[in-house]
């Protein structure tokens, strides 16, 4: 990576590959009447439309509601009508630009509340609500009667764009007998393989998918876009018998892949004057755009986490995932967590203020602790490090002093300090069967090769897998090769999402490594003349613990095994224990372990300009067990930066279904000047699921910093921003309103 040798998909495009360009819809909602395709010049080798799909014209996630190529109707401006393949990208682009499409406009729905109520304008046949979920715990009516204070507020969040630095890219190479090999920027090679096989109408054995070095993904490359690119390039490659490459421009990337769901969240919360929460009534409405994508699962996670990490005896939550003609919303780091926590943590601060309590003291009266029940009625085990996290950040940020001293700020610049807590159910929980497989092979040189279908795209999680194998086998990391995910040779380990790589992949790797270690110990015991249980393999040498001084080098031990016909190759599968919950009440155990955390944000607000300068973030996370601390810190810092952008400056604006700012110049991603000092602490309360008790840390770091910043702004200037992002305009407007 530091040598510049890492090859991403666009770096590996074969010389003779055709270059593809997609034809996008120019209407947010319309019937396609006619597509005028001009005569093709010799440089144009193919133009593929829906009619040219031999298999099933679907490229979608949970609900098969989205075609790969639009046929009769377009539902958003990210719909693709066709793909042109030419000898060079300019020829392909010119050809696409020359195509005229006649549409019959349909009414546009861009507000999910209007869309929910509208029975005449149907974006999809079955209506505009893609999913409805509900959670019922206890009796909220009784709960509100027990409350002394009731606070009702509405919060809203925006479309956030993944804005990974590498725009999507992929290419397909036709092989013999109708087979095809696809190389691309993606998160889930096995999902892509299944999708492409269905699109081509062939058996999965005919499709080989290799994950190239991927320059950031954050969930968007987990959804339809990776399947689109693989499907389109495969179609062209098989039709033309030439390699076919598709690289999205930044503009295409920002329009075509899925975004974070905007949520509108209504909270009504009851609390006693002693500060105990009694009831929460919540409504979540998510705008999923034209297609459901992973919306139903985002909604599910938001449903479970909507109250925040607190004991609330009575909860009533209704959640809706609604279609509109905006471009699709789907997976993005946090997956409903950032939205849910923004509302929950702002609500807690408002309640604290009404009660005259310090925000941390109020939270401490209500936080989840071992033995307490979540909003789903799940009784938590001992692995709840939330209180310790709070203590660490309170101390390190000098919370008490700054809370009182900074209230004295009265000039133009005002400082503020705020907190937010989080919890994050690990891995996919109720979303499906959670299973992972890993393979380990040791060759005669003593070199260890690991194979797993989980992808690397910057999380560093795969290095954690290598560490686990190295630790168990007793060899140096330099003796280990972790092969890139290739559906031909890697075992299917499920998707690389839900922060499950170390938690699930790590367990599979641990299992495989343990079996191999035991085989090696058995073989070494013979040579060392001791019991296998006394054999220790460390730093490449096998010795008898507390026994004979004999030792044997790892490499020699391996050679001896192989000579005796003992194969040193193991594939192990790990399946998480089943989770269960009642679909009507959402009561039960949706996740086997939770990551907990606390984030304190310090800001300075310019009351003349409304601008916010973050001064510091102090974070503490219960990571279960830190397998790779430096890598975890990287996730904490990167997640914080993305949350900072979410809080203060990022918004992918869609107006009347048109994406207004699909460029890095107009969509503001935090630069090095925007991210402050970040101090991070780790607490370890080993969880029930992960290897050595390790917990998910890919996504949790993005859940809390946004509300922490909003709460800090409220402390600084006394105004509460209830819709993200908290731009200067909103702050000035709120300040002016407060004055009058």
């Amino acid at each position: 990576m530091v040598l510049g040798n890492s090859k991403y998909a666009a770096d590996m495009i074969p010389e003779d590959a055709l270059r593809l360009k997609v034809l996008r819809s120019s209407m947010p909602h319309a019937i396609i009447k006619k597509v005028h395709v001009p005569k093709r010049t010799r440089r144009i080798k193919a133009f593929v439309t829906a009619k040219g799909i031999p298999g099933i014209n679907v490229s979608s996630c949970i609900i098969p509601d989205r075609p790969l190529l639009a046929k009769d109707k377009v539902r958003c401006m990210a719909d693709i009508l066709g793909v042109a393949a030419a000898e060079d990208i300019d020829a392909a682009t010119d050809f696409i630009d020359s195509i005229e499409v006649q549409y019959e406009a349909l009414p546009i729905l861009t507000n999910p509340f209007e869309s929910m109520k509208n029975d005449t304008v149907k974006i999809h046949e079955d209506g505009n609500v893609a999913r409805y979920l509900k959670l019922r715990k206890g009796d909220v009516e009784r709960g509100f009667q027990q409350a002394d204070v009731v606070v009702s507020e509405t919060y809203s969040t925006q479309f956030q764009e993944a804005a990974f630095l590498e725009p999507e890219a992929g290419f397909a190479v036709p092989a013999s007998h109708g087979s095809v090999t696809i190389v691309g920027s993606m998160q889930n090679p096995f999902y892509v393989r299944s999708a492409v096989a269905r699109i081509l109408g062939v058996h999965e054995d005919k499709v080989r998918v290799i994950q190239a070095f991927t320059g950031g993904a954050f969930g968007a490359k987990s959804d339809e876009v990776a399947m689109d690119i693989a499907g389109l390039t495969a179609l062209v490659a098989l039709r033309t018998r030439r390699p076919a490459a598709l690289v999205y421009s930044r503009e295409e990337s920002m329009i075509l892949h899925s975004k974070r769901h905007p949520f509108t969240m209504k909270h009504k919360t009851g609390v006693t004057k002693a500060g105990k929460l009694t009831a929460a009534e919540i409504e979540l409405v998510a705008d999923t755009g034209a297609y459901a994508s992973n919306g139903p699962l985002v909604l599910l996670r938001a449903l479970f986490h909507a109250t925040g990490p607190y004991v609330v005896p009575n909860v009533k939550t209704d959640a809706y995932c609604v279609y509109t003609n905006n471009t699709t919303a789907g997976s993005l780091r946090g997956f409903g967590g950032p939205q849910a926590h923004f509302a929950a943590e702002c609500q807690m601060d408002i309640l604290a203020e009404k009660l005259g309590l310090d925000p941390i003291d109020f939270r401490l009266k209500n936080i989840l602790r071992p033995g307490t029940a979540t909003a789903t009625g799940q009784i938590l085990d001992s692995s709840v490090g939330l209180e310790e996290c709070i203590a660490k950040v309170r101390d390190a940020s000098e919370w008490n002093r700054k809370r009182s001293v900074w209230k004295e700020d009265c000039g133009r610049m005002r400082r503020g300090i705020g907190i937010a807590l989080l919890y994050h159910g690990n891995s996919i929980g109720p979303e499906g069967v959670d299973r992972s497989s890993a393979s380990i092979t040791i060759d005669r040189r003593g070199h260890v090769t690991l194979r797993i279908g989980l992808a690397e795209y910057g999380t560093g999680a795969r290095s954690g897998l290598a560490q686990i194998a190295a630790e168990i086998l007793g060899v140096a990391l330099s003796q280990i090769t972790l092969e890139i995910p290739d559906t031909l040779t890697s075992p299917d380990s499920g998707g690389t999402f839900a922060s499950r790589t170390v938690v699930m992949g790590g367990n599979a790797m641990k299992k495989a490594a343990t079996v191999l270690r035991d085989k090696l110990r058995q073989a070494a015991a013979e040579f060392l003349q001791c019991d296998p249980s006394m054999v220790e393999i460390r730093e490449g040498i096998a010795r008898c613990y507390g026994g004979s001084p004999r030792e044997i080098a790892f490499r020699d031990l391996v050679k001896s095994c192989l000579r005796k016909g003992i194969t040193l190759s193991e594939t192990a599968e790990f399946t998480a224990a089943g989770v269960s919950f009642d679909e009507n009440t959402s009561q039960g155990t949706p996740y086997l372990q939770y990551t907990f955390g606390a984030v304190v944000a310090e800001v300075e607000v310019d009351t003349f300009l409304g601008t916010v300068t973050p001064l510091k973030l102090t974070t503490a996370y219960d990571v279960g067990k830190a397998v790779n601390p430096l890598s975890l810190e990287g996730q904490v810092e990167g997640g914080a930066a993305q949350a900072l952008g979410y809080a203060l400056m990022e918004e992918l604006v869609q107006k009347d279904g048109i994406v207004v700012n699909p460029s890095m110049g107009d969509y503001y991603v935090p630069t090095s000047l925007d991210v402050p000092e970040i101090e991070s602490f780790m607490v370890e309360r080993p969880g029930a699921l992960g290897p050595y008790g390790a917990k998910s840390m890919g996504e949790p770091p993005i859940d809390a910093p946004a509300p922490a910043l909003i709460n800090a702004i409220a402390h600084a200037v006394g105004v509460r921003i209830k819709s993200l992002p908290a731009t200067a305009e909103k702050i000035i407007s709120a300040l002016e309103q407060a004055k009058s």
Binding site: M1, V2, L3, G4, N5, S6, K7, Y8, A10, D11, A162, A163, F164, L165, E166, P167, F213, T214, G215, G216, A217, F218, S249, R250, Y457, G458, T459, G460, L630, S631, E633, G634, E637, G638, G639, A640, A641, Q642, S663, M664, G665, V669, P670, T671, S672, L673, V675, E677, I678
Partner: protein, 161 residues
């Protein structure tokens, strides 16, 4: 569109190529000469992934035409160091686990080189200012700044790590 002959001296090697008038330096480096370390992140000069050093100065190569770079000395990441002889900047980035997906690596490291050529002892704020033209979506910049600070120290002759 017309074709022109340009001479580009990349990482000490002299290349003579025929380019289209509208060809960007980024395309010449990547597609004609095989220096794929420079990346296309946006094509509009907003992200810095394509940054290279042209006559010692950081330039977004997606905004420079190949013909404009005629007779220029160009440095890409491939020329910064080798596996056997890493540049202090490269060593510092490895030690600090300062990259995650790696797509901004080229832009960041070359910008760091440019900074450290001009300022051998930059403050953290000066480092942040210098790299503000390169977007990193993964790291939050914290370890990147740590790494550049460390590289500066090593280049000043102080012991690090």
């Amino acid at each position: 569109m017309s074709r022109h002959v340009v001479v580009l001296r990349v990482n000490g090697r002299r290349h003579r190529l025929g380019v289209e008038s509208h060809e960007r330096l980024l395309d010449s480096l990547r597609d004609r000469l095989g220096y794929t370390s420079a990346k296309e992140g946006c094509g509009t000069g907003d992200c810095g992934a394509c940054a290279v050093l042209v006559n010692g100065k950081v330039v977004n190569s997606c905004l420079m035409l190949a013909v404009q770079a005629h007779n220029s000395k160009i440095e890409t990441l491939e020329g910064l160091g080798t596996a056997n002889s890493l540049h202090p900047i490269q060593k510092a980035f490895i030690r600090n686990s300062a990259f995650q997906c790696g797509f901004c690596a080229s832009g960041i490291m070359l910008t760091a080189k440019d900074l450290l050529q001009r300022n051998t002892n930059p403050s953290r704020d000066e480092i942040r200012e210098a790299i503000s033209g390169v977007i990193c979506r993964c790291t939050g910049y914290v370890k990147i700044v740590d790494a550049i600070e460390e590289a500066a120290a090593e280049m000043r002759g102080e012991t690090v790590g």
